[in-house]
């Protein structure tokens, strides 16, 4: 029987975790304020054209400089093709200004994907994405407050903010493009991290209910983390297996998206062990007198 049944004092190691988390979050915030985000046309309006060709970037730039978007475009190579097609490279051309692919001439290419988004749609998408995230966070706060208590709610939200902030930070630091699928990936991370956190919380609550706990709140939390650690790691592993396969098999459209998920799952796992429970522990120790105690005993 393979079994993970550790007895590690996680809270003891928490000062390292705290330093790590705060450093990562600070780096993210600094990167966000200095470098900002590389928003895709989903959020900025504009036109995107992905095409395959044998010409090199200089030839392509020369051709594009003949068109109306000459001062207003970005182009990058996104993939090398080994088989499938007569062409060797895939380039992605985006511009905030609408353009007609017919205008680009002078070299041979085959259009793989073209996308045009107007201001009204991109604004809508942006607002919807922000609003839905905010509302989701508020409702989670309420639900966890009712099912557990407000400290747990604050802990879970802090863990979520921690995860999303660091993932966005990575995207900002490396200037990776953020588009609608990436937002979906962030939301997936939100759901995933929450799931992880709640399972640990549930164990804390159960231990209290069964009066099967040491008096010290820190030890109580630590016991719950140890009891659930095997599950936390196993679930992350299975999810990471699927994601890693997708990352290596997938093409350029799916790689970034999978990368966001991989980062998110790793950070989400870390935060449910070190951030969420630590927050509860800290709040309960500091402000425990406000709520007196976990009042789970009275339930049911």
């Amino acid at each position: 029987m393979i079994s993970i049944n550790p007895n590690i004092n996680f809270l003891d190691k928490n000062k390292y975790a705290l330093i790590l988390s705060i450093t990562l979050m600070l780096v993210s915030i600094i990167s966000l304020s200095i470098l900002g985000l590389n928003l895709g046309i989903d959020f900025t309006k504009g036109t995107r054209l992905d095409f395959e060709t044998n010409s090199n970037i200089n030839q392509i730039r020369l051709s594009i400089n003949e068109t109306q978007i000459k001062d207003n475009y970005t182009i990058k190579k996104v993939e090398n093709i080994d088989d499938r097609s007569n062409y060797k490279n895939v380039f992605s051309l985006t511009s905030k200004v609408d353009f007609n692919s017919d205008d680009i001439k002078g070299f041979e290419y085959n259009i793989l994907l073209s996308e045009g988004i107007s201001k009204s749609v991109s604004d809508n998408l942006k607002n919807d994405a922000i609003w839905s995230m905010c509302i989701a966070i508020v409702l989670i706060l309420i639900y966890v407050s009712i099912r557990f208590n407000p400290f747990f709610a604050i802990g879970s939200i802090l863990a979520l903010v921690h995860d999303i902030l660091i993932t966005i930070g990575v995207f900002s630091l490396f200037q990776l493009e953020i588009n609608l699928p990436i937002i979906a990936a962030f939301l997936t991370i939100l759901g995933y991290s929450l799931n992880d956190t709640i399972v640990v919380y549930d164990r804390i609550r159960e231990n209290i209910k069964l009066k099967n706990y040491p008096d010290d709140i820190s030890e109580l939390t630590n016991k719950a983390i140890n009891q659930t650690i095997s599950r936390t790691i196993l679930t992350s592993l299975t999810t990471l297996i699927v994601l890693t396969v997708l990352f290596f098999v997938g093409n350029y459209l799916i790689k970034l998206f999978t990368l966001a998920l991989i980062i998110g799952v790793l950070i989400g796992t870390y935060s449910s062990i070190f951030v969420a429970s630590y927050c509860v522990n800290f709040l309960q120790n500091r402000f425990g007198h406000v709520l007196k105690k976990f009042n789970f005993e009275e339930e049911e």
Partner: protein, 422 residues
């Protein structure tokens, strides 16, 4: 056992409903669209100097820069009312080339800027034409009647011949005026109706139409007539639409995405199954079978809803695989704990399921909450993600809690084991 019937039912659903696979990013064209409208023919059937025009066009194409074009054309004589009309015929195998070259001429050399080329099936007009060959009609780019000028279009049967149908047209005041002048000047000529770069009908003008009410007759079946009427009716919305979002993906890329998606999914799931089998042995296999059932259920629900699987949808699917395995992992870890504390196998299973239940519910309800919010406040692909995720959560709770327990019960109640394979 009723549970197995439910499972069977869903499985059947999966196979009876086709599963929509990233349909929205599959096919598309890059042709510039021509709005709906009725056009005036500049050179073509019905115009009096048709033959002369065609000779002039042929002369033009013989210019040194376009001489290859002239090679793909041949001239055939058409006798109409005692008159011999020379026609330019394009052979089938040179048609695509010719079309592209004409586009270039228009764009680069600036010829025919105000005109568009129509390619008509020659065999419909000339008996002696080679099979599949086309001949050219040239129309003015500006339509005479646009979609917004058409008030009504409906089908009725021909009064004289019952086996024939006609499409009736009613135009508004602006349309009626233009139509009156146009038909008065162009009796016996043709007026092609074009939508999205395709000729959907090419009726001949028999007389001047004063009040904007006219009909196109000669439809042998009602289906054809209905099709045209629908096109005419809905063509009018074309002008009211403004492009706000468009996305076209080359079919090769779309197919590649599907293949990759399926590959990745199969490899990923297989690895998870192997992993679970190694770690949890028999129980791992039970969990894996519930995982596969879960995927079947999800696809059946998604196909029933007619949802399309896009990139965010795949994220939902992956998260679901994670969640589905997770519920079982929570249960199994619980059972292991109970076994370690000395409980006999059957009670350990029972207690493991009972205790894990609350954990699973709480964890999934919060995630479901997020999914519901995303559905109501999100847009486009985000909505699709929310649907996949919700379907996944509901299915995985059902399979992980209900189905695996049924299997456990079936396996272990008949023969109580001394030791659990977990």
């Amino acid at each position: 056992m009723s549970r197995s019937y439910i499972a069977l039912f869903f499985t059947c659903l999966t196979f009876s409903n086709p599963f929509y696979f990233m349909e929205d990013i599959l096919y598309g064209t890059n042709d510039p669209k021509k709005d709906f409208g009725i056009y005036e023919i500049a050179i073509g059937p019905g115009t009096h100097d048709f033959g002369n025009w065609h000779l002039q066009v042929a002369e033009l194409f013989r210019k040194s820069t376009w001489s290859t074009l002239s090679d793909s054309l041949s001239i055939i004589s058409l006798s109409v009312a005692d008159q011999e009309l020379p026609l330019l015929i394009i052979e089938d195998n040179k048609f695509e080339y010719f079309k592209n070259e004409v586009k270039k001429i228009k764009r680069i050399d600036g010829y025919f800027i105000d005109h568009d080329f129509l390619y008509l099936d020659a065999s419909n007009y000339i008996d002696s034409a080679p099979e599949n060959s086309k001949f050219i009609a040239i129309i003015y780019s500006e339509p005479i009647i646009t979609g917004d000028m058409i008030d009504q279009a409906y089908v009725s049967s021909d009064e004289k011949i019952n086996t024939s149908y006609r499409v009736n047209l009613e135009m508004n005041d602006v349309g009626s005026d233009k139509w009156k002048t146009f038909t008065g000047n162009n009796i016996n000529k043709f007026a092609p109706i074009i939508m999205d770069n395709e000729i959907i009908s090419i009726p001949r003008i028999n007389s001047e139409i004063p009040n904007g009410e006219c009909y196109i007759d000669g439809f042998a079946n009602i289906k054809e007539a209905n099709y045209l009427a629908t096109q005419l009716k809905f063509g009018k919305f074309n002008l009211a639409l403004k492009k706000v979002y468009d996305k076209t993906i080359d079919a090769s890329l779309g197919n590649q995405m599907i293949t990759l998606g399926i590959y990745a999914f199969i490899i990923g799931i297989s690895l998870v199954v192997v992993f679970m089998a190694i770690y949890y042995k028999t129980s791992g296999l039970i969990a894996s079978s519930s995982l596969i059932l879960n995927i079947l259920f999800m696809s059946s629900i998604l196909s029933m809803l007619g949802a399309t699987l896009t990139l965010p949808g795949i994220a939902g699917f992956i998260l679901t695989v994670g969640i589905a395995v997770d519920a079982n992992v929570i249960i199994f870890e619980r059972i292991k704990e109970e076994v370690r504390s000395g409980m006999p196998p059957l009670s350990a299973i029972e207690s493991g399921y009972d205790r894990a239940f609350i954990s699973i519910i709480d964890a999934n309800v919060t995630t479901l909450l997020t999914a519901i919010i995303l559905y109501f406040f999100g847009s486009g692909p985000i909505k699709g993600f929310a649907i996949t995720l919700s379907a996944g959560i509901v299915c995985s709770m059902f399979t992980a809690i209900y189905i695996t327990r049924t299997i456990f019960n079936t396996v272990y109640y008949s023969k109580v084991p001394k030791k659990l394979s977990i």
